[in-house]
Amino acid sequence: MSRTIYDLIGLGAGVMFILALKGLSHPRTARRGNILGAIGATVATIAVFFYASEGNELPLNNLGWILGAIAFGVLVGVPAARKVQMTAMPQLVALFNGVGGGAAALVAIVEYLKLGNTASTGVVIATVFTVLVGCVSFSGSIVTFLKLQELMTTRPVVFPGGRFVIAATLIGTLASAVWVVMELGTTPLLVLAALSLLFGVLFVLPVGGADVPIVISLLNAFTGLTVAAGGYVLDATLLIIAGTLVGASGTILTRLMAEAMGRSLFGTLFGAFTAKPQEAGTASETRPVKSGTPDDVAILLNYARRVVIVPGFGLAVAQAQHTVRELADLLTAKGIDVAYGIHPVAGRMPGHMNVLLAEANVPYEQLSEMEEVNPTFPQTDVALIIGANDVVNPAAKTTPGCPIYGMPILDVAQAGNVIFLKRSMRPGFAGIENELLFDSKTTLLFGDAKASLTKVVGALKAL
């Protein structure tokens, strides 16, 4: 196949990627968009097998190795993607993103080893960029994976002098980048890769659990840019187009996510440099709260006419989506009007809660968006809040200057009764006390969301 035909096929694939992103932005066309993207990627991959770059002959060298490696990747990737629990999906996406960044870095390293001293300065700079950002994306994504999988603490990891260590690593990384450009050797490149990997880890460690989705999205955009730079190194237009598209849309998406969650993008990104070691234990709250038993909760629910369930992060962690549906079905069978009030950022990522509840076969008509459900709270007898806190915290309306001030919230305080299922009195991720917990119409039921719900369902059946 000639270079012209090969490039035209690449252009076609690029157009499909644009249509894929466009499709993914609207609920009706999302699935088709994703399939278009998959077709584009497949076509681009097949085309490369039929295109011999100058001086080479078909079939490709090392064809057996190439096909074997692809088969192996499919055997690892597809079962992982198909079997993963929907609650664990964000960390799988993080992992996929990380290996993509790693792949881009490896591609640039191999090309650099080959080119040696013949590489032009432009290519060397692009190589350095690819290796640096690809390695940061790889190791950073691994840390986000470990955090989300709870293989390590989800709290920000900050150690004394940490920001100086991080700043020093960053300076070292940039210095070795300059070294590679000046000296053109294998050793500087390996030093660069090692320091970049270290920086990726240090960059993500101080990020708290709530900000992890934003970081994943950002690293996703980073990987896109490394792929674009890799495309420049390899003189492959398609990679430049695809990588830039992902880099640009990923950046916008990161900003949208940060806005929807009421987080400052700047604060998240530079948290590594500004984070201070945390005070040993914040002043513990000693005001009395009304804590109830599963039977109390069951009785409140049983005599309600309308119940709004507000699911949050805690529900996702406890994997309680099936139990909550059982509870809702039970209430509906008793003639009680049940709705789910979904905050735009409920769960671990924006839109994650909709996916989880859809997986548990919650009828779509019962899922109400925040704007729909908020005006109905005055007519609601019970608001049942399961593992959510910040998204119902009135401080977002009443306390200017608090970190979540201005974030839209679910107006549960308007409901007749408020029930919180919580693991502890610990504040939400934003770390702000929730006044609503101390309100006289609030009942708290402590414990794991799934265990609590199971008990409430049992109590309700016994009534």
Binding site: L24, R31, N62, S217, G250
Partner: protein, 104 residues
């Protein structure tokens, strides 16, 4: 390729990337991110090109590793995005016909 041509492609692609996702409901943030993530798996094409060029065992070994990682990124990414979006299928109202018999 001409550097100016590359910069042109880059700048135009940045604008297209900004434009296509500027108005997206928060419900779709996660699938959109996952789909974009799968698209950058097309680095697989680059990995195949360097594997083709590889002469030493070191180069081949690194290329093969890159192919494996890129394939996982691309194939896994599209499959997991499709699974997420499958959950939204009920929006058109035929939830009941889907039932609990999720495909295994």
């Amino acid at each position: 390729m001409d550097l100016v041509a590359i910069i042109t492609i880059f700048v135009l692609a940045v604008f297209v990337g900004f434009e296509v996702v500027s108005k997206v409901s928060s419900t779709l943030h996660t699938p959109l991110m996952s789909g974009a993530n799968a698209i950058h798996g097309v680095i697989l094409v680059g990995a195949i090109i360097v594997a083709d060029h590889s002469e030493t065992n070191l180069e081949l070994g690194l290329s093969v590793a890159a192919i494996v990682l890129a394939t996982i990124n691309m194939v896994g990414g599209f499959v997991v995005t499709d699974r997420m979006l499958e959950m939204f299928k009920g929006k058109s109202g035929n939830r009941a016909s889907q039932g609990s018999g999720d495909k295994k």
